[in-house]
């Protein structure tokens, strides 16, 4: 019997009367890759914001590993092992790629209010950081300030940073958006490689990624769950085809 | 060898009190040196100037530096907080200090010391002259508008005491925040509805100017007499006679009083053509002249570096000059001059540029200032 790592019940969020997410139930199985897809504006990012607590839900409850996290702060949720990435790239621009990853690695160590200590403490993370950067194909940009990386490489860096926290549940918002297909392939491979012992919930428009990776798919439309199931069943669903996939998705 | 001296004018050169101190004070110092004949008598006097920028911190730092550079006398210093701060510095460095432009009567009171002379005016004198004379003239019911800081409170408290003592009555008082207030209409209508017949303005500079101007707009000058507790001729000039007419105020010097003052004015005018000296600036003239006389009398340049000695010498000698006539310096460092109550002329009465005042009353020096026994000056053994 599989167990659920994340469960949301009756999640809703309205913005000034406009319901972006409405009564969404979502259960993510442990160690699975779960995809959240849907048309633009369906409420996927909003859902992510709710789950990671960047937004407070209008109603509904969220539990992570069996504990209720509905009222926790975003930082606290992250500390519990549920870490997100952002749809619009979010890197620390003036810090090098290495420093970006190190910041995440250092967090995993604990406190960090040690303002009296030397910076050199951080060098202990260099090896692990190099590994992670290698994994996402950024070995050649270790000392490049993140702001100067091209768009696709920023995304890769973001994934490396997220991985550094060794999260049990990763929320990835369009991890491959804007990447060349070679990079997409690398990310897909990476996600496969890291999935051991990890659960991944991702939003993705690239159907080849979705079909290739996901164990289970939830389709959102207009803030509600439209369908749920594996890729076969979802892509065969009439409503999903009209709302999202479009008529010629077969050759996508 | 030439006898060299340094005099520093610490004043406001860039802010709100520039017109009552600043360049005109410097002009008056130069005039005093010229009238004394410093050069002919073999003195090489350097006049320095410093802008305290209305900050006690800057003022103290300036005074410390000036004294450390060998300045023998600091003079002027409008703004009581700075005036008092520098008094402490003068004491620490044991150098002479003549304050001609701070109002606080505490300069010769609790802060009093052997290095300091307080020239021209103080809050006690202003309140007794303006307050006392007006009550005598029938203005019994007073309403005060007070700048909410030490100077304003002192001026208000002392005037209110005089008014009461003379049989008058305080109908009310409002403290307005200093220096942020520009609109006084609210306080003015409180005054208007208080039933008082004299409006006492315990404020200075632009606040007083604004108060008088706005009182005029509300027609208060028609129903009440307005007493400016500290108004200088330069402020009147800024208001214009149209608005200032009828205002009652006290100064200890007015250029158009008598032949001697007019002679002084004629000499100093080329140095300050657009701004006639008020009492504080004339005090710089009078004070420096007397200082030079004291130095001359001591006839020992080494002793001049001993501020207490110079000031002691100044106290020993009576003063006499064109601006203030004959006067003296009391043991506590108080310069004893007469206080004159003036009424501002109407535009029609004014005969020429800066012809602004009519003399109403004179309070002789011995009544104008606080008796030494009441002051609490540590120099005075009681």
């Amino acid at each position: 019997m599989s167990e659920y790592i994340l469960q949301a019940r009756g999640l809703s969020k309205g913005f000034r009367g406009f319901m972006a997410v409405q009564d969404v139930d979502l259960s993510v199985e442990k160690d699975s890759i779960h995809a959240l897809i849907g048309p633009n504006g369906a409420g996927k990012t909003t859902c992510f914001n709710l789950l990671s607590k960047f937004l407070a839900p209008s109603s509904g409850s969220i539990s992570f590993e069996g504990e209720d996290i509905t009222s926790l702060s975003p930082a606290a949720v992250a500390r519990r092992g549920m870490v997100r990435s952002f749809q619009i790239s979010a890197v620390f621009g003036h810090m090098t790629a290495l420093e970006n990853v190190r910041i995440a690695l250092a967090r995993a160590r604990g406190g960090n209010f040690d303002f009296w200590r030397g910076e050199r403490v951080l060098t202990q993370y260099n090896d692990r950081a190099h590994e992670l950067l290698y994994d996402v194909g950024l070995s050649d940009s270790v000392d490049v300030p993140a702001a100067e990386l091209s768009y696709g490489r920023k995304r890769a860096l973001e994934i490396a940073t997220t991985l550094a926290l060794d999260p049990r549940l990763m929320l990835l918002d369009e991890p491959t958006a804007g990447m060349t297909e070679s990079d997409v392939a690398r990310i897909v491979a990476l996600i496969r490689q890291i999935r051991g012992g990890r659960t991944i919930l991702m939003v993705e428009h690239n159907l080849s990624v979705v079909s290739g990776l996901s164990d289970r798919i939830t389709v959102l439309a207009r803030g509600r769950v439209l369908a749920e199931g594996d890729y076969e069943s979802v892509s065969a669903n009439e409503a999903v085809v009209t709302a999202y996939l479009g008529s010629d998705h077969a050759d996508a | 060898a030439s006898k060299s001296l340094k005099i520093a004018v610490i004043s406001d050169f860039s802010g709100p009190y520039r017109d009552i101190g600043g360049p005109t004070s410097v002009a008056c110092v130069h005039q005093a040196l010229a009238d004394f004949g410093a050069k002919d008598k073999g003195y090489d006097v350097t006049v320095l100037q410093g802008d305290h920028q209305e900050s006690p911190a800057v003022g103290t730092a300036l005074a410390q530096r000036f004294y450390d550079q060998g300045v023998d006398l600091v003079i002027d210093v409008p703004n009581s907080a700075i005036g008092i701060a520098i008094e402490g510095v003068a004491h620490d460095k044991n150098r002479a200090y003549i304050n001609t432009n701070s109002a606080s009567s505490e300069i010769t009171g609790k802060f009093c010391n052997a290095q300091t002379v307080h020239w021209t005016y103080d809050t006690y004198m202003l309140s007794h002259s303006t307050g006392g004379a007006m009550v005598k003239g029938g203005g019994k019911k007073w309403f005060f508008i007070t700048a909410d800081y030490a100077f304003g409170h002192l001026l208000h408290d002392q005037t209110a005491a005089v008014v009461k003592q003379m049989g008058g009555q305080e109908m009310g008082n409002v403290n307005f925040p200093f220096p942020q207030t520009t609109d006084f209409s609210s306080f003015l209508i409180q005054a208007q509805s208080s039933g008082a017949d004299v409006l006492g303005l315990a404020s200075a500079g632009k606040d007083t100017v604004n108060l008088v101007k706005q009182a005029h707009q509300f027609g208060i000058n028609k129903t009440m007499k307005i007493a400016g507790l500290l108004v200088f001729i330069n402020d009147v000039h800024g208001m214009g006679l149209d608005i200032a007419q009828g205002l009652t105020l006290t100064e200890s010097f007015y250029w158009n009083m008598n032949d001697r003052t007019r002679a002084f004015m004629a000499r100093v005018k080329p140095r300050t053509p657009n701004n006639y000296p008020s009492m504080g600036q004339a005090g710089c003239y009078s004070g420096v002249l007397h200082f030079m006389k004291a130095v001359e009398a001591m006839n020992n340049m080494a002793d001049v570096k001993n501020g207490a000695a110079v000031v002691a010498q100044m106290k020993k000698m009576p003063t006499d000059d064109d601006a203030y006539g004959k006067a003296s310096i009391r043991e506590d460092g108080r310069f004893m001059c007469n206080a004159y109550l003036f009424r501002v002329k109407t535009p029609a009465e004014s005969k020429g540029p800066w012809d602004y005042y009519d003399l109403l009353a004179t309070t002789p020096a011995d009544q104008a200032f606080m008796p030494m026994a009441a002051e609490g000056c540590p120099l005075i053994k009681t």
């Binding site: - | 406001d12 860039s14 802010g15 709100p16 009190y17 520039r18 017109d19 600043g22 909410d148 409002v174 403290n175 307005f176 925040p177 220096p179 942020q180 207030t181 520009t182 609109d183 209409s185 609210s186 306080f187 209508i189 409180q190 208007q192 509805s193 500079g205 632009k206 100017v209 604004n210 101007k213 706005q214 707009q217 509300f218 027609g219 330069n234 402020d235 000039h237 800024g238 208001m239 214009g240 149209d242 608005i243 657009n274 701004n275």
Partner: protein, 295 residues
């Protein structure tokens, strides 16, 4: 006499009215500031100084050219606006690409320069200016005498505020201005001459300060420091209203005028700090001011 909270009722009515009058100055001044702030992202510290310049120009027009109040109401703001155009072209525009702090530093320096020059030229006690004759005199309102000129100021302020608010919030020119603040390069690539638009906007904001200066000249002592004393309050108004919110600045201007008016009766010593107390409370409760858009 009727008493409210221990104060005579007529006095309180009077204060309400005076609060509105003061509020109209706050509103008018903060308007220009909010435009320059909201649209150019420049914290114009020289706004108070330009207000002062407006008042002096009014005085100068009368004194040197014999131009009276009514023509000055048009001429002075145009002159101040032209001056604004000049400083925008020669100084301010270099700060757009920089952190907001640099604009603040530059305009602060500019304020010092203007103030210093005027102090040297006209002395610190300032000059006097009388309002137009037809607006002299007072109205008897029963509970107080209201100078006609002040009534005129309120009227003028309301007209000006509404006009500006409408232009910025409801016209396509306003939309263009708002867009140009966010991403000037992109708007420019749409074919809009953004640098010119920005210059004119700055000039417009400055002209508003000049206009307030004209209106203030007959009321207050015209002296070089007259702007500095107002500027802090006016900043507070803009912030409480919500940065860049034109409507917010207007409403807050009037509101704060009234609050200050009442403080002057009940606790006069606190009447200037009350603005900051209100600001602290508002910002603690609402992160982006009363009417600000949350970033």
């Amino acid at each position: 006499m009727m008493m409210i909270l221990g104060k005579p009722a007529p006095l309180l009515f009077g204060q309400l009215l005076l609060g509105i009058i003061n509020g109209s100055f706050y509103a008018m001044l903060s308007l220009g500031l909010a435009i320059i702030f909201g649209l150019l992202n420049v914290i114009n510290f020289a706004h108070g100084a330009l207000f002062m310049v407006g008042a002096f120009v009014t005085w100068g027009l009368l004194h040197y050219l014999g131009i009276g109040f009514w023509p000055a109401l048009i001429v002075a703001p145009v002159m101040v606006g032209a001056f604004g155009l000049l400083i925008e072209r020669t100084l301010i525009r270099f700060t757009y690409k920089l952190d907001i702090l640099y604009g603040l530093l530059l305009t602060f320096g500019l304020a010092l320069v203007l103030e210093g020059i005027f102090t040297n030229a006209f002395g610190s006690s300032g000059v006097s200016y009388d309002g137009p004759n037809i607006l002299s005199g007072t109205l008897n309102l029963g509970f107080m005498y209201l100078p006609v000129y002040r009534a005129f100021v309120v009227f003028a302020a309301i007209v000006i505020c509404f006009g500006v608010w409408f232009t910025i919030e409801k016209t396509s020119l306003g939309a263009l201005l708002r867009a140009a603040t966010e991403n000037p390069a992109l708007v420019q690539s749409f074919g809009v001459n953004v640098p010119r638009l920005i210059s004119l906007t700055f000039a417009g904001g400055v002209a508003l300060a000049g206009l307030a200066g004209v209106l203030a000249a007959p009321l207050y002592s015209v002296n070089p420091g007259m702007g500095t004393s107002l500027i802090n309050t006016v900043f507070a108004v803009v912030v409480i209203g919500g940065m860049g919110s034109i409507g917010g600045a207007i409403l807050t201007g009037f509101g704060l005028g009234i609050i200050q008016g009442f403080t002057e009766v009940f606790y006069p010593a606190a009447s200037s700090v009350v603005v900051f107390a209100v600001m602290a409370v508002v910002l603690l409760a609402r992160p982006a001011g009363l009417f600000g858009r949350v970033a």
